[in-house]
Each structure stands twice: as C-alpha cells, then as structure tokens.
Amino acid sequence: MRYPTGVRRAVALALALGCVATGCGSGAAGGGRDGRITYAVDSQPDCMDPQISPYDITAALSRNVFDSLVTMDARGQIGPWLATSWTISGDGRTYTFRLREGVRFHDGTPFTATAVKATLDHTVAPETKSQYAAGLISMYESATVVDDHTVKVRLSRPYTPLLQVLSTATFGIQSPAALRTNRGKTCLHPVGSGPFVFAGWARNRRIDLDRNPDYAWAPKGAGHRGPAHVAGLTVEFIPESASRFGALSSGQIDIAAAVPPSHISRLRQADGFRFLRAPQPGAPYTLLLNPYRAPLDDRRVRQALQHAVRLDDLVKALYSGQYDRAWSVLTPATAAYDAKAEGSWPYDAETAARLLDSAGWTGRDEAGYRTKDGKRLTLHWPYMNGLMRDQRALVGQGIQAEAKRAGIEIRFTALEPGAYLEKAIGRDADILAFSWNRAEPDIMRSYFASDQTAKQGGSNAFGVKNAQLDGWLHEASATRDRERRDALYAKAQALVNSEALALPVYAPATLLGAAERVRGVTFDVQAYPRFYDARLEE
C-alpha cells in the first residue's frame, strides 16, 4: 500500500524531529565526546582570575590552567615546578628563585622572571581588588627581576609558609602580556602555562578547557611527562545535586563533583562507577565560641558544650562515614595536626551537667532549659544559607537538639547576608561556624591571633586575645625549624581545646563520582582534582 506523498513526508519529518529531540538515543551515553572528559561541578566561578576570586571552585579549575612556582606533595614537602631552585636569605625576608627555561604561556609568550613579578604585583595592586590572594601575601614588599630566569622576592617580615602559599592554584603564574592586554578583564581571560588552555565560558552553562599540546613541565610526582592524555575538559555547571548525580548515573557526564555522602553507597554498588575521595587540609567545620560575652565567657559553660554533644554519632549519621569527626581546629590532612587531640574531650553528659552546676546554671525553667537568677541559658548562633553546604543546617539542628538535652538553648537562626555579616563583624553572637581549606597550619593564626580579627580581614571572629597563642602562632609562622613548628602548633591546638575556644565538628573531604572508564584523576594537596594524568579507557 502506498501512502500519499504528504503523509510520507510528514512521517519522515516527525522521525527527523524525533532524532533532533532525542539524539536517536545515542547522544547521551558514552563515546562521541572526542576524548574529552565531561566534569559536572555544583557551582560556577565568579571569576577565573585566581588572584581575584576567593572561591574554591576558581582555585580547583585554575589548578588545571595555571602552574605555580613550586609544588607541595602529600607529605607537605615543597618541590620545584616553574622554579627549579631557590635560596632564602638569613633573615628569612628575601627569596631568590631560579626559574625553569623553555616554558611557554598559552598565548605563546615565554615564561621569565617578569611573569613572577607581574603576577605578584597584580595580586597586591589595589585595582585588582583581590579578595583572598592579597591577604595571603600581606608581607610581600617587592619583586626584582635579576635576569631572565632569576627573580628576588622581598618580604617585610620573615614568613615561612610563603612557599606553601606560592604552591597553591591561587598563586598560579599568569602571562604578563595577557595581564597587560586584558587589564580589567582578567576574570574572563585566564592565560597560564598549565596542561589545559582556557577555551571558552558559556555563562551559567559550562567552561571549556582544551589540552595544551606544548605542555612539558609537569612537576615531579605527576604520572607522566608531556601533554595531558585527554583532548580537553568540559566543565558543566549543574547546581542541583540530584540532577548532577542523575547525569552521572545515566552516562551523560564522566565525573560529578560534590556527590552527597548519602549517595556514595549507591555509587559503590552500581556497576561501572568509581568513587574518589580526598580529605581536605585546613580548618574543619568549626564552631567558634565567643569567650567575651555571657554565658560563654565562663570557661565551664564552653567546656560543658564540648561534652554535651554526641558528635561521633551526629557526624556519622549525617555523612554516612564519608567525613571524619574532628577533634582539633586543624584537620588530620593538615601538616602539624596533633593526633593527641583525639578523644581528649569525649561526650560525657555527667561532666557537662557538673560543669553547668558549678557555673551556677542550676535552675530549670518550664521548657527544661537551665537557668541562673531566672535567666535561661541561651546561645545565639546566626548563619547565612550561602555558607551552609554539606547539609550544615542539619548539623546545626543536631547540635541544637543535643545541647537541649543538657539544658542549653541554642538559637540557630538563618539571616540575610547583610544582617549576618553585621552580626559577625559586630561580634553580636555566641557561636559562629565555618571551615577553611588550606594546606598549611598557619590557618590557625588567622583563626586565633589577636591581629586577625574579622575587621582586619582575618577569621578570628570573636577577637580572641591570648598572649600564649599569639606568641606561639607568630613564632611558628617565622621559624624554619620543622620540629619547633610542629611543637608550637601542638601546644596551640591543645590550648584551643582546653580553653574550649572552639568546637571542631567534621573534617570535609572532596567527594567525586566517576564513570569506571575515567582513570588517573589525582588530587593536589588542597584536595582539588587534577586532570593532567586523567585518561578515558574504552
């Protein structure tokens, strides 16, 4: 039977449209991506200039585009990268770097001492408006080009963590020619010398990174030499974690970032997928306690809070064992972490009750909260939703419920960013909580040195002023004696716990879900994924 041409044409058209709409069932799954890895992340960078943007996502993507002067290995040892060797002057204030020859930026210009100077000057220039990097090198004075491949960096005071700072993606070396021509637009035109070239940014959709075919200067410790194995990296922005996970499990992407811990066991049971985990260094998610305002100005009340919360159970229940419960204000993945802190302030309801009794909180009101002179034991804990990744609102509610059992009321309140910052900077709170990813114990100085208050750009939210802490933390940042440093940080960690200045909660980890065929994804010391060694197996 023959159909009239009109009908046949209509059927053909419908089929063609169907193919457009569905890719005829082939487009989504595997293959056909020209050797590129599709990597879905949960947030979009605000800016791709690592010296401007303070966000983790910028640093994580920059790690694949930029090289740094030096590299840090998993044990915290500094090794050569764009700098082949360096010397430090006796006073610890002048660093002289010998630079690698033959390195070229993505724009074709050669890497020389000028690039190091231009990058550091760019970081501290007021018009750059650096929101993070400039604060890390506040002791930077100047850089001098000695010859094409020698540069001297001068500091206003000795600062031992400088090499760690320079090893991070935040201090990826930029092409000076590109910095000049793109002035004011460096956010959209990152030009480094790394294994991948920034190739385009469709806002709110994706960033494309292409393989750098000339790459030949991977740091020691990389899995191979020469250019990256894969043709490129397509970074898709999928903010919904359910969508991201679904896209991974249906084969539409190769790797998903920020897999919710609750999904990990499903990923492990499913065929064809792998799960990658890297513990993050720095400060764990920590509740800072305000020691200068009643009721937490009484050390016994702060200690009671330490003993009142079953953190082991809480962290295990919420994070399915993927994040470790924290014992110190440094995570176990941080150099100078002191394992002696573990178990030093266990859950103990009786001790908590005894401490509160001795502090005078002996009454009980009708809601079951403790009172003193008719006043309820209440702690104010404001937060803003923007900072509450990893289900931190649930952590807060869990701690709130635990505290209630001990008779402590915690008012856990969500605020607008403006209102939150007003309270945080004005120290109008009893508890403030956040985490900080940094592969350097010097992060403790930002949290507890008296010159690092929020107003001064530090993280010492409540302006803790403790002469011992100040002394230890400053000495530790200046000394080059590794054992001395470790001892100082151990003392500082113990003091923070014994004074109950903080309640560390959990140590975050980078959790990636990957298709089985993706191999060789590694992590840098900050737990940012690196795709240089990655390859696709068929």
């Binding site: 069932g25 679904g246 084969g251 539409q252 923007g386 403006g418 007003e422 929020a454 530090g458």
Partner: protein, 311 residues
C-alpha cells in the same frame, strides 16, 4: 484619528512611569536591606579593610543618599547600567547574552500552555465526566511546584530513558523538558479559565442560532465558543509574563540552563545591584510592553471596549 494616537501616547507615558517606578523601587529596596551593602557585595571571605573602603568609594556608598540617587538615575537615563560587581562585565552584556535563551524558553512554554489549554478546553467543555477528570489534573498541574515536576521529568525521561539531555539545553532537545515544566502550571490555569468562558459562551443565544442553522458541534466549539473564550486569556497574558519569568528562575537552575533566571538568582544572592537593576528594568519594560499590546489587542478584538476603557 487623533484619539487613538493620543491614547497610545498616554499609554506609552504610563509604561515609562512603570519602568521609572521599578527603578526607584529597586534602588531603595537595596538600601533598606539590613547590613553593609559593600560587605555583602564582597561576600563572606573576610576582605581586607582597605579593600572594603576602596570598593565603598568606587560604588559611591560613602556619599550621601541623594548623591547616590542622582548618580544612579543619571546613569540610567544615559542607558548606562554599569558593571556587574560579581562578574566584572558590563550589565548590558550580561543581560543581552542571557536574554535569548530565556525568551526561547518563555515563548515555547507559553505556546505549549496555550495549545494544551485550547485542546483540553474544546474537548471537555460541557462534558461532565471528561471535565471532572480533567479539572482534577489541571488543579494538580497548577499547584505542583515547577521544581518537583522538573525533577520527575528528569528522572524519568533523561536519567532512565535517556531521551533528553539533563543539562545545558541548546537546540530543540534541550528545550523540551524545561518548556514542559514551565508550561505545566500555566496550562492548568489557562484551561480552567478558557473552559469556564467557553461554557458561558455555549449557553449564549448566538450558539442556539448557530445550531439552528445546522452547524456541527465541532464547528460551534471551534468557531464560536473558543473565540469567545480566548478574550480573558488575553488579559491573563500580563500575568503570564510574570509567571514565566519567575518560573524561569527555578526551571533554569533545575535544568542547568543558561538564561536570565539564573543570572537573577545569582545576582540577588550576591547582592549584585547593577545586575538586579538591569533585570528589573528589562522585566518592567517587558511587562509594560505586553500590557500595552494587550490593550491594543482588546481594541482590535472588541471595539466596544474602547468607549468604556480608561483610555
């Protein structure tokens, strides 16, 4: 001929005032929010005090309110929306690069909702059994959050059956699921209104006349009742613009689509005043133009409206 022109001029002036009012509202609303706007712009990453003061000066937040207002309005009248704080890009560029995907999504959803509503209303008006089933479904569609519909569609049609991509959305394939999600609620509302109006029309004497002339049921429904029923939908078009734009914020993030909705969500969260202002102005202009078009359409559909209307 003078009257329609004068009418149009007056309506245009009103539209301009709407846009001006929107600009004022966004300027003052931003200043009424609690906290230091400069700190909010810089985020929660502990900027140095020097940087805070530098940005405060650049954004003129250290000037008296009147000066800030004058500066804001002055730039607005020259068409300069300024640079985005967050994206370091001119606002005009940000909006124009993201406008088209949202217009595509909104247009596709509107057409889809309208076609669905017309089909369902014609099939179910004055048919009690079909009507009962359909109106339950309409209520469900109208009251289910777009977020949920989107996740269900993704789970079934993208993750399980792999018919459609889960993210991105350039081209027809990427538009299907977002358009269905955004259209669902609107189709529910449209159908209810349309059927109500059609049923009223089907009881009118002119329908009886048409039947007496021997017109078939289908012809009556399509030619007479449907045409009548469409008039209130024209009124709803103004509402639809708001619903589509508000819905785009959710739909675009569920489907990881480019567009103004995502830009708006990001700008509001980051207190990016120039971008928020730009988006508010664009939507105010769209709103004013659609309403103007609706008024013009009224006069064309039903010339009697002219006499009693405010114009």
């Amino acid at each position: 001929m003078g009257t329609p022109l004068r009418w149009l001029a007056r309506r245009l002036l009103l539209a301009l005032m709407v846009v001006f009012g929107a600009a004022n509202a966004v300027f003052f609303a931003f200043r009424l929010l609690p906290g230091d706007p400069v700190r909010s712009v810089l985020g929660s990453t502990n900027p140095t005090p020097e940087l805070v003061e530098q940005v405060r000066h650049e954004l003129a937040f250290d000037q008296p309110l009147a000066v800030q207002y004058g500066r804001f309005m002055g730039r607005l009248f020259t068409g300069d929306l300024g640079d985005s704080y967050q994206l370091q890009q001119p606002v005009g560029e940000v909006i124009s690069s993201q406008l088209w995907p949202t217009v595509q999504l909104a247009a596709a959803s509107f057409v889809l909702a309208l076609l669905t509503a017309m089909t369902v209303a014609v099939l179910t008006a004055n048919r009690p059994r079909a009507r009962r089933v359909s109106s339950t479904l309409e209520l469900v569609a109208a009251s289910t959050p777009a977020f949920w519909i989107g996740m269900l569609l993704l789970a079934l049609l993208s993750f399980r059956l792999k018919w459609f991509p889960a993210m991105g959305g350039s081209g027809a394939a990427g538009l299907v699921l977002p358009a269905i999600t955004l259209a669902a609620g609107m189709a529910g509302v449209f159908t209810q209104v349309l059927r109500e109006e059609m049923e009223r029309a089907l009881e009118q004497p002119f329908v009886l006349t048409a039947r007496a002339r021997g017109s078939g049921e289908t012809a009556i429904r399509l030619r007479h009742a449907l045409r009548h029923g469409l008039i209130p939908l024209v009124t709803l078009a103004g509402w639809a613009v708001g619903a589509l734009f508000g819905g785009a914020v959710v739909v675009e993030s569920v489907f990881s689509r480019q567009g103004l909705g995502q830009v708006t969500a990001g700008a509001v969260a980051g207190r990016d005043l120039p971008v928020v202002t730009g988006v508010v102005l664009v939507s105010a202009v769209a709103f004013a133009l659609i309403n103007l078009a609706v008024d013009v359409l009224y006069r064309l559909i039903d010339p009697r409206i002219d006499e009693r209307s405010i114009g």
